[in-house]
């Protein structure tokens, strides 16, 4: 009896070990389950979404295009990040804006203007103001919200267009933030976000984010284009395109300093 039990135990332990190992080191982007009539476990999906663009560190090159009825403007920029708390974005083009930078450290945000060699911290009153004239706000850059932690989420059935699963996320009470509710559509196997609708505190749709052009970047399969469309502004939207990303490369903490900015990156 003892022998049988021990064998069973060992078998159980081994299976668990393998399963744990598999789950822990499962490469991102690989579906945990096949598409079925039931969506995958929600907790995993939320964590996955949270980590989609994050890493210990990252270096990326991006192109932002701001489309307005009167004109369209494009900028390219390079960005460095360390976890969620530190990030630096420096414009590379157009020439007249080259060197303009935004530095985030925790909840603080600074702008650097090479034209006047000045660094200025953005006051709380301007947090909801547009970042670089786009449809993104300063607050967007600073916010460190986590789908898994800050929202009560549930599956909301299937979505027809785009086809996938609907995810409904309601901000937990007591969490300070702009969005009362986010409704997201993820693809069939819940590995890619397709569309996110953001609802403000008065439950009005404020903007929609579309995730497009999935590419392999930095070893991950992710949407390389994010199109942010504000709800109440006709003909206006902002497109953020990742040209390339490297995850977990060496980014020293000294990168994220104002004096560094002034001396020139």
């Amino acid at each position: 009896m003892a022998t049988i039990r021990r064998r069973q135990f060992v078998l159980l332990a081994a299976t668990s070990a393998v399963a744990t190992g598999v789950a822990r080191f499962w490469p991102p982007g690989v579906p945990l389950a096949q598409a079925a009539d039931a969506p995958p476990p929600i907790e995993k999906v939320l964590e996955f979404l949270d980590d989609l663009y994050r890493a210990k560190t990252s270096v990326a090159r991006m192109e932002m295009t701001i489309v307005k009825p009167s004109r369209t403007r494009s900028m390219t920029m390079k960005s460095w990040s360390r976890g969620m708390s530190h990030s630096l974005i420096v414009l590379e083009s157009p020439a007249r804006d080259k060197g303009t930078a935004t530095l985030k450290v925790d909840q603080n945000l600074w702008n650097y203007l090479p034209k006047i060699s000045k660094t200025v911290r953005i006051p709380p009153s301007m947090m909801l103001g547009s970042w670089m004239g786009s449809d993104m706000t300063n607050d967007d850059l600073v916010r460190e919200a986590s789908y898994a932690e800050d929202f009560d989420s549930s599956w909301d059935g299937k979505s027809q267009s785009p086809p996938g699963w609907k995810l409904k996320m309601v901000a937990k009470p007591g969490k300070v933030g702009l969005w009362k509710r986010i409704e997201m559509v993820v693809n069939e196997d819940a590995t890619l976000p397709l569309k996110s609708m953001y609802y403000d505190r008065k439950d009005r749709l404020a903007r929609t984010m579309y995730f497009e052009e999935v590419k392999e970047l930095g070893g991950r399969k992710i949407p390389s284009v994010m199109r942010l469309v504000p709800e109440d502004k006709k003909g206006e939207y902002t497109v953020m395109k990742y040209l390339d990303i490297e995850f977990n490369v060496d980014v020293p903490e000294s990168t994220f300093s104002l004096s560094r900015l002034k001396r020139g990156r």
Partner: protein, 442 residues
């Protein structure tokens, strides 16, 4: 009715009134006093509304404003009036336009140290705005420190590199800041401020300015977040060549603003622009003045009703007291109509005399105050701060110059006439029913 009978009735009415002098005088005094109050209060309200209108349509709102037609929706930087120089020239040739104030509005992040604060950068004509009706006119603002001459300052250096600031440290751009802003952010003369905003085409606008003056303006918004820079500087920094966001107009008379707006809107070059008088720009102000008008009216109605009651009372009393006499007259062959006529004439006489008395007193009082001006501070008990009032973001401590309005005299005359006729109704009815024999026995 013949004129002679009218004249006789008049004589009789006069004499009747004279027969009970005390009562007549009392009625006259009551009526006169009420009318005096009515005229005086109305005169005061007229002056008050005038002052309010002048102040509100003062520097920021003006009498009329010109904008690109979608500008006021969101005040976007790019919705500008173009070809401004040419337009200002056309406006200066118009006799209805006393002054035009071109302005650029550029909400910006400002910073003296590293800590940024929100501000509204206004590009204005430094000399132009000191004219009556301008933001820097002596009646609208006080220079607390420094100088109002901030028009001098940098022109962009010809050899400035592409990334260089437009001003320069040797010859910096000058700026005036609002007193409240200066206090809150600890800004002093000579401080250098970084201004960061957006150009009309969306790229980053940035420059440095030097604080050359601190002003306290009647316009609360200017005090609290305003940084004034020369118009040409603003146009350069924010990428607005020969463009502005707003041209504020001042006409000759703030009451004629609608006509002003219409005439300017018809000028060549202005047809695609939005030109609105203050009444349309600030309907809340119109509402407010309207409500003040209504509350005044209610007060006046009360006052007047009291006075009219006094007259009516007098007439009714005197009629009933003279029952016997009227009986005699009836017995002598006078028609009831004749007696009613006398009553009506008496009432009207009372009314007219009282009205004249009150109007005369009220008009004199108003004229006197109209010269001297009535200080609101006195009303508030002479407190330092209480002499200032704030309406819709504009502070004022003003002198009110009461003014006689013909409308009030017309209205009270008509009202009095009606009251007299009405108050003669009851006695008239009474008289018509009189039996002479019974009456004579009373």
């Amino acid at each position: 009715m013949s004129s002679s009978s009218l004249r006789t009735s008049l004589k009789i009415a006069f004499r009747n009134l004279g027969r009970n002098r005390k009562r007549t005088y009392l009625a006259l005094v009551a009526l006169g006093l009420a009318q005096f109050f009515v005229v005086a209060v109305d005169g005061f309200m007229a002056g008050y509304e005038d002052a309010l209108r002048d102040v509100m349509t003062g520097p920021l709102l003006g009498h009329a404003q010109i904008h690109e037609k979608d500008y006021r929706d969101e005040r976007s930087m790019e919705k500008t009036i173009v070809d401004v120089d040419a337009k200002l020239k056309i406006l200066s040739g118009q006799t209805t336009v006393e002054a035009s104030f071109p302005r650029v509005f550029a909400p910006s992040l400002a910073a003296k140290t590293e800590e940024g604060f929100t501000s509204l950068v206004l590009g204005v004509d430094p000399e132009g705005e000191t004219r009556p009706g301008g933001l820097l006119a002596p009646s609208n603002s006080t220079l607390l420190e420094g100088s109002l001459a901030f028009g001098g300052g940098a022109q962009p250096k010809a050899d400035a590199g592409e990334g260089a600031a437009l001003g320069s440290t040797e010859n910096p751009r000058l700026a005036l800041v609002g007193s409240a802003l200066a206090k809150r952010q600890n800004l002093k003369l000579g401080d250098e401020l970084a201004l960061i905003g957006q150009t009309a085409d969306g790229s980053m606008a940035a420059d440095l300015v030097k604080v050359s003056g601190i002003v306290r303006s009647d316009v609360e918004m200017l005090n609290g977040s305003g940084i004034l820079i020369p118009l040409s500087a603003a146009q350069q920094i924010y990428g607005l060549e020969n463009q502005v966001h707003e041209i504020t107009l001042r006409g000759v008379d703030s009451m004629k603003s609608e006509a002003l707006a219409t005439s300017v809107a018809g000028l060549s070059g202005f047809q695609d622009l939005e030109v609105l008088p203050w009444q349309k720009l600030s309907p809340q102000l119109v509402q407010m003045l309207g409500m003040m008008g209504i509350s005044t009216l209610i007060i006046l109605i009360f006052l007047f009703t009291a006075a009219a009651a006094g007259v009516a009372n007098t007439m009714v009393m005197s009629t009933f007291e003279r029952t016997r006499e009227m009986g005699v007259l009836l017995a002598l062959g006078a028609g009831p109509g004749r007696i009613v006529l006398i009553l009506v004439v008496e009432t009207l006489l009372l009314g007219v005399l009282g009205l004249a008395l009150g109007t005369f007193l009220g008009a004199s009082f108003t004229a006197y105050l109209g010269q001297e001006g009535f200080s609101m501070a006195a009303l508030a008990g002479g407190n330092e701060g209480a002499s200032e009032m704030s309406v819709q973001g504009v502070n004022f401590s003003f002198q009110v110059f009461p003014r006689l309005r013909l409308a009030v005299i017309e209205q009270t005359t008509i009202a009095m006439g009606l009251t007299c006729l009405l108050s003669a109704l009851w006695p008239a009815w009474f008289v018509s029913r009189l039996q002479p024999t019974e009456a004579m026995r009373k």
